[in-house]
Symmetry: D3
Subunit: 131 residues, 6 copies
């Protein structure tokens, strides 16, 4: 496989998971400073790992959310809560993952994630209502 083939595969998987609106936003934000990092992510995160057949997108979505809650990475967590609309993780499942995370990563990790998810879901509902 060449770099270009992997980039192409990564782009397709990423758009399926994060959605067209996110892809367009990232393309608009591309600068000389972040261009190589964007390409690296496309190949590494999306073309190599998310493209692997061993776990479906829904499962990858759930373990990604679990890890981001545990690590307290709020910005990336927002992306992946939005992505649940594409990966088929229901809001009830998001709730379960976060309650489960309270046990393994502590209550404050889950508490912050609940607030963040509520905010993202409200944005998503508002956008859906206005479209």
């Amino acid at each position: 496989m060449t770099d270009n083939e992997r980039l192409a595969r990564g782009k397709k998987v990423r758009e399926a998971v994060l959605g067209g609106a996110h892809v367009a936003r990232t393309a608009k934000n591309r600068t000389p400073f972040n261009a190589e990092f964007q390409d690296f992510l496309m190949e590494y995160a999306w073309g190599s790992i998310w493209s692997r057949p061993g776990l479906d997108h829904k499962t990858r979505s759930m373990i990604t959310i679990a890890m981001l809650v545990a690590l307290g990475r709020a910005d990336e967590l927002k992306l992946h809560i939005r992505a649940t609309a594409n990966t088929g993780v229901s809001r009830d499942e998001v709730k379960e993952i976060m309650m489960h995370a309270a046990i393994y990563a502590g209550v404050p990790a889950a508490f912050g994630a609940f607030q963040l998810a509520a905010q993202i879901f409200a944005e998503m509902d508002k956008k859906a209502a206005s479209s």
Copy 2:
């Protein structure tokens, strides 16, 4: 629900997930120092969270492993790699979770987890062969 009902429910779920051998070992290690903590875990981790119907045991097993890899909690990770024999997570799925974790928690987190899983799987194979 009373404390005792919840303890009973927790015990059942915990034995289904961690296995009878682990349950016996923990009972043997019970001391005045850790007894209240053991009961607390039985009620909350097992009787309250793992007992919830919103995610099946296999999914809870996968997100638990993902979080423990991300947080670098090796001792607890060992328990939950062993538990995959009960929760139905295949070794190929464990591998996928750990490769996925390399993206979100960094290569060293995944590297340590691969070594630990290999060691646990070897122990499990040895025990199976000798029984």
Copy 3:
């Protein structure tokens, strides 16, 4: 003890520690999405742990702040800095905990906590002045 008894005990301890204003705010923010998590916290964090007699509220308040500084959990830290007004931890003691945390969790953890505490104390003084 039944769930309801523990919920009742948790509510009382939580209000004593976090204060009536916080309790009212959380009640107002209760939604179907976070209701089960709120109840879980009430039983688990407040009804089971904070209710234990082995450490007084002031000591629990101090170790909670120390851990939240170390883990960098800013939102939860704000709650517990506000709670010092109820738990009897003085501002000088908050300062000492944060300087101590610089040694064990690193200077950036303490630095962020100092800024956050200054902001919360200013809000508290303003509210006190206007009431």
Copy 4:
């Protein structure tokens, strides 16, 4: 205050907290590689922070243990569990700190700490019995 005065003050406080056996062991392990780091710790951790009057040694001991549990720093945690014999933190209080940490840093952090404390207390009892 000069460096030498602070070193002297740090030495005294450190010996009071960590005990003479630990001090002797560290002195024996002093090498050109770690000598400057040892001196830095003596001034910085012990001469500057632990020497401050704003919190007594028992309270500093408790918040140190809480942070080390949260951060998962096992080697340093061992030192500070041993130090409770000097700082006046009882074993029941160690237990309470660790159960409290389960809420804020997650169950695996507390679980590992309970095992470690049990092992240290057993060593301490054995040494006491043989002396």
Copy 5:
């Protein structure tokens, strides 16, 4: 060396690294609550460690950025991205450090750092253009 000598040395190194504007801002923000912490940082972080001759300021700047990215300490990271103008770390080198950090601390750590650096560099360019 006395405290005052170390404070003086620390002040000089800190101003060389963080710049006069930052020093002025910190002086303005000095309060009874944070004064002792500011002095403590001046002595230890700056007077003891950054003043050591064993690594030059550029190298210290690079390892500081790498650690702050890994630990997710955003506020302190901003200071040290701004400081690259004084320490001689180029923007391309900042980019390389952050791409390197994606491997060791995970993609979300690097992703957040890229966004933060872009924002700081834009502020710096704007300030330079208006002066």
Copy 6:
């Protein structure tokens, strides 16, 4: 660039950094369980990131060590302390990085790293003496 070209480039860089003995050990430990992960690391960590010309190997070695100390990843840290023999980071520089890390990641992170480095350096000296 094709996968195979990148693998080849990664192998070369990795051997230059980690040394032939490590490469041989990893090849011997290759199993169906870890083979894909090994290849993934070879391509991304080594073929994509360490191969970039923007930072030399010595600088990458230093920031890697700094991040591993901060994150407390002991196993990976051992590899990279050994690698300093190939990357040209002196033992005095390792000492400086670890003292610097005490400020940013806390004393316990640096303390553990000092002990680990001392042990690795002793092994290296012993091996050198016996060869």
